[in-house]
């Protein structure tokens, strides 16, 4: 039975996605482009939770906008990438935990990230100047600038808080998307989602490439995104390996080039810098038609923070033995802090929600389809 209940559509962004999906569902020309459209076809109406789920399944490759016979200036004004992007940006804030913090970040992402970098860097510089100014420029010894325990005391709480906040936000997202029917998390679905996310399967316009700048597709954006994601994962592995070496192996920094923190961290940093810079460059040239309308939020802040993270990390590695070390360390730690603090309230969560949406999609697609009267007819083979 239909579940039309328009008042339950909570937000204008959800409302717009529902309006567009209703028209798309009657058309279905885009069904081969990505996961959004097959997922849409399993529904007849699009309540708020369905809209959130579909929006987070969308990778904003732009193909369906350029392929759409109803794109503006057509009066139906279908622009799925933009409607989905608007709703995604809004949904990050709506699912964030604790909810009270989210609106703050939703509008001021750039400022919060920037101020976090500068204030933490300033704090560390001040700390060092107050205790031992010489350590800033001298030895290449990070812990002379800021003792290891002080670093842990500063970063562990914010990191753990961020992890908790993200876990609870993800839970909010998953539960809301349930729409009353609890969706199980199965191993095959997780595996399929991991493969789809790992390859960024849906960031390719159905095979031709993204069309984020024009109707000429290319694969650059996917490449930059891959570099960013795998760069980040390598950096994360690098930091984790350092932590293990410090606490379990009693092997404190600094580490040589042939140790895991460097073997993972240097390529990771390079990936992060090239990838994030590429994404920023690419986003500047993006067709405004498929951008989110409100761009004051955490999207650009996230990419810039990643770029800062990678750039300061690499600079620190290269210039560790120079007088610039102290300043670079302070900046790098400022970036790390800004990254941690904005993580649950910004673009970082797109990875979590998208993975959850992909998992749900993998499960749905194997769980069977509804039956629509498909009369046998030549040339119109699909229901």
């Amino acid at each position: 039975m239909s579940r039309v209940d328009l008042p339950s559509l909570a937000t204008a962004a959800q409302d717009e996605v529902a309006r567009q999906m209703t028209i798309c569902n009657a058309c279905r020309y885009c069904e081969g482009l990505c996961a959004v459209f097959p997922a849409m076809e399993l529904r007849r109406v699009f309540e708020g939770s369905d809209a959130d789920y579909l929006a987070n399944l969308c990778h904003n490759c732009g193909a369906c906008y350029y392929d759409c016979q109803y794109a503006p200036p057509h009066e139906f004004a279908i622009n799925v990438p933009q409607a989905m992007a608007d709703l995604r940006e809004e949904s990050y804030a709506r699912f964030a935990w604790p909810g009270a913090l989210a609106p703050l970040f939703a509008r001021n992402g750039m400022w919060i990230a920037g101020l976090s970098v500068l204030s933490v860097a300033g704090f560390i510089l001040g700390f060092a100047l107050w205790s031992d100014p010489g350590a800033l420029t001298a030895s290449g010894d990070f812990y002379a600038v800021m003792p290891h325990n002080a670093m842990v005391a500063l970063f562990a709480p914010i990191f753990l808080f961020s992890l908790l906040a993200m876990a609870l936000g993800l839970r909010n997202f998953w539960r809301a998307a349930d729409g009353g029917n609890r969706v199980p998390v199965t191993l095959p679905a997780l595996w399929q989602a991991a493969r789809d996310a790992g390859r960024m399967r849906y960031l390719d316009g159905g095979g031709m490439g993204c069309m984020s700048q024009s109707s000429r597709p290319d694969k650059h954006r996917r490449l930059f995104h891959q570099l960013t994601m795998y760069g980040f994962l390598l950096c994360f592995a690098s930091t984790s390996s350092g932590t293990i070496m410090h606490y379990l192996l009693d092997w404190p920094a600094p580490y040589g080039f042939w140790t895991p923190p460097k073997l993972l961290g240097v390529p990771g940093g390079l990936g992060l810098v090239i990838g994030a810079a590429g994404l920023i460059w690419y986003d500047l040239r993006r067709d405004p038609a498929t951008r989110p309308r409100d761009r004051t939020g955490m999207g650009p802040a996230f990419t810039w923070t990643l770029l800062g993270l990678g750039a300061t990390g690499l600079a620190l590695y290269g210039l560790r033995q120079t007088p610039a070390m102290g300043l670079l360390l302070a900046l790098h730690l400022g970036c790390v802090f800004a990254f941690f603090v904005t993580m649950p309230y910004g673009k970082f969560v797109h990875g979590l929600y998208r993975f959850a949406a992909l998992t749900r999609h993998a499960h749905e697609q194997t769980a069977g389809h509804q039956t629509i009267a498909a009369a046998p007819v030549e040339g119109w083979s699909r229901p």
Binding site: M1, S2, V4, T22, I23, N25, A26, C27, Y29, C30, E31, G32, L33, P38, R44, A63, C64, Y66, D67, C68, Q69, Y70, A71, P72, P73, H74, E75, F76, G205, G206, G207, M208, S215, R216, Q365, H369, Q370, I372, A373, A374, A375, P376, V377, E378, G379, W380, S381, R382, P383
Partner: protein, 469 residues
């Protein structure tokens, strides 16, 4: 400015011609009347093409031999086709796939086995506009000059010989700019005239005011008129078009596929007087889809209302517009503006005439009426479960048949003689092959086949080179 080939129109047929002419070494100008965002005529609203093939592949099951294709064509046209051109089209349809793919057009693969494959039709990945984008990219890469918002306002033809044309740029604005263009050949690929309501009235009278045009608003038949006025031979008549019954709330133009309503077999259809007028259960909806356009066009005010009840609400393709709904038949009658008493009597008579049967929407089932005129011969179930729903139907015109007569070189005929330098392809000449009726995806096939022929022949006519390009 001087060109080798001037092409009027910017849809699939025009672009196939442009690409082939450019590959043949010609300097090509495409004049598309629509703005860039709306380019491509009715191709923008299409989705697939019908291709003869001997064996299946990842996208089509097979085989669909030319003979069977021809049988299908003869069946729908009832022989109203130029047999020579029809056979040529279907023979060369076997090349369409490879040709389009080579231009960068992509087809819809089977999605993890969850979607059934078509046997006869190949679906464009992303639909017709995606296909157009690929053709435009290729044409631009080959150096074809594409001008948008530019229509062919006048054509100079002398005894079937094309001399030049007047283009009008920005013709929809207050400051149109006219320019005379000389070209050595001309390809008319500017579609039909279904968006020209005044022209439709010549065949249909005032009823045409109530028709909805499913496709592009830019098919106003300007080039067709110029060509006919210059003495080109005509196929078809002014009152012939293909129409379907679509959602009455669709936009006047450009509603496309989403205006389709598939609910007719699940209920009854009444006219503005609240009376039934045809057997809704005659056959599966897509097979009968086309006849309802004419049926509704013949009703008062060119309107029909499909009435279904709750048990049928989700059995058909989702529609773009929600139905009118009410818990009572009387309330529903009020919402759609018909007389409640007649309407309720119609429903009661229908309900009483429904025989018990096994409902199955996938076969010609045993649910039918007895003693009812007109009968409903399948899928007849009493309309009894509220809330009741009504979808309004109007005739939706998809394309016109009247066009230019051509020969197998796509040359336009003047008094039976092929023009030395005027060619036609696409909807403007599809009536040569599709004299009546319709086969899904055939329009794209005709446009591609004759577009290739027109472009290739136009380029070849400029040189002594007789080798294939």
């Amino acid at each position: 400015m001087s060109y080798d080939v001037l092409i009027a129109g910017g849809g699939n047929a025009a672009l196939c011609a442009a690409i082939c002419a450019a590959r043949g070494g010609a300097r090509v100008l495409v004049a598309e009347a629509a703005p860039m965002a709306m380019r491509g005529g009715n191709t923008r609203h299409t989705r697939n093409c019908r291709i003869a093939h001997d064996e299946g592949n990842g996208i089509l099951t097979g085989p669909y031999p030319v003979d069977e294709y021809l049988d299908d064509l003869m069946r729908v046209t009832k022989g109203n086709t130029d047999a020579e051109l029809a056979e040529l089209t279907l023979q060369r349809s076997t090349e369409v796939w490879d040709f389009l793919e080579a231009q960068g057009v992509r087809f819809q693969p089977s999605l993890g086995g969850t979607l059934s494959l078509g046997r006869t039709n190949a679906f464009f990945l992303g639909g017709g506009r995606s296909m157009l984008n690929a053709l435009y990219r290729m044409a631009e890469d080959l150096g074809v000059e594409c001008r948008y918002e530019t229509r062919v306002a006048d054509i100079e033809i002398e005894d079937g010989f094309f001399l030049g044309a007047t283009l009008e740029a920005g013709w929809e604005t207050d400051t149109p700019r006219r320019e005379t263009v000389t070209a050595r050949t001309f390809v008319a690929a500017a579609g039909g005239f279904e968006s020209n309501i005044d022209w439709l009235k010549e065949g249909w009278g005032e009823a045409a005011e109530n028709f909805l045009i499913r496709g592009t608003p830019y098919n106003t038949g300007g080039v067709l008129r110029l060509m006919l006025d210059a003495g080109a031979d005509k196929v078809g008549d002014v009152d012939q078009f293909h129409s379907v019954a679509i959602d009455g709330r669709a936009p006047k133009f450009d509603g496309g596929i989403v205006t389709r309503l598939d609910c007719v077999p699940f209920g009854i259809v009444v006219n503005q007087n609240g009376e039934r007028f045809y057997d809704e259960g005659e056959d599966f909806w897509p097979k009968r889809y086309a006849i309802w356009g004419r049926l509704v066009a013949a009703q008062p005010d060119q309107v029909g209302h499909v009435i279904i009840d709750a048990k049928s609400a989700d059995l058909f393709m989702p529609s773009a517009f929600p139905p009118e709904m009410d818990d009572t038949l009387e309330g529903l009658a009020g919402k759609i503006g018909i007389d409640a008493n007649t309407f309720i009597k119609t429903v009661e008579r229908f309900n009483a005439a429904c025989l018990p049967g096994e409902f199955d929407h996938t076969t010609h089932d045993t649910c039918r009426t007895e003693g009812l005129e007109p009968p409903k011969t399948h899928w007849a179930r009493p309309i009894a479960d509220p809330p009741f729903r009504a979808y309004t139907l109007r005739p939706g015109i998809t394309f016109t048949y009247m066009g230019l007569r051509v020969n197998r070189d796509a040359r336009v005929l003047f008094d039976g003689a092929p023009s030395p330098n005027i060619f036609a392809t696409g909807e403007i000449m599809a009536g040569n092959i599709l004299g009546q009726g319709y086969l899904g995806g055939l329009g794209m096939t005709i446009g591609t086949v004759f577009g290739r022929i027109a472009g290739t022949e136009a380029a070849r006519s400029l040189t002594n080179d007789r080798s294939s390009p």
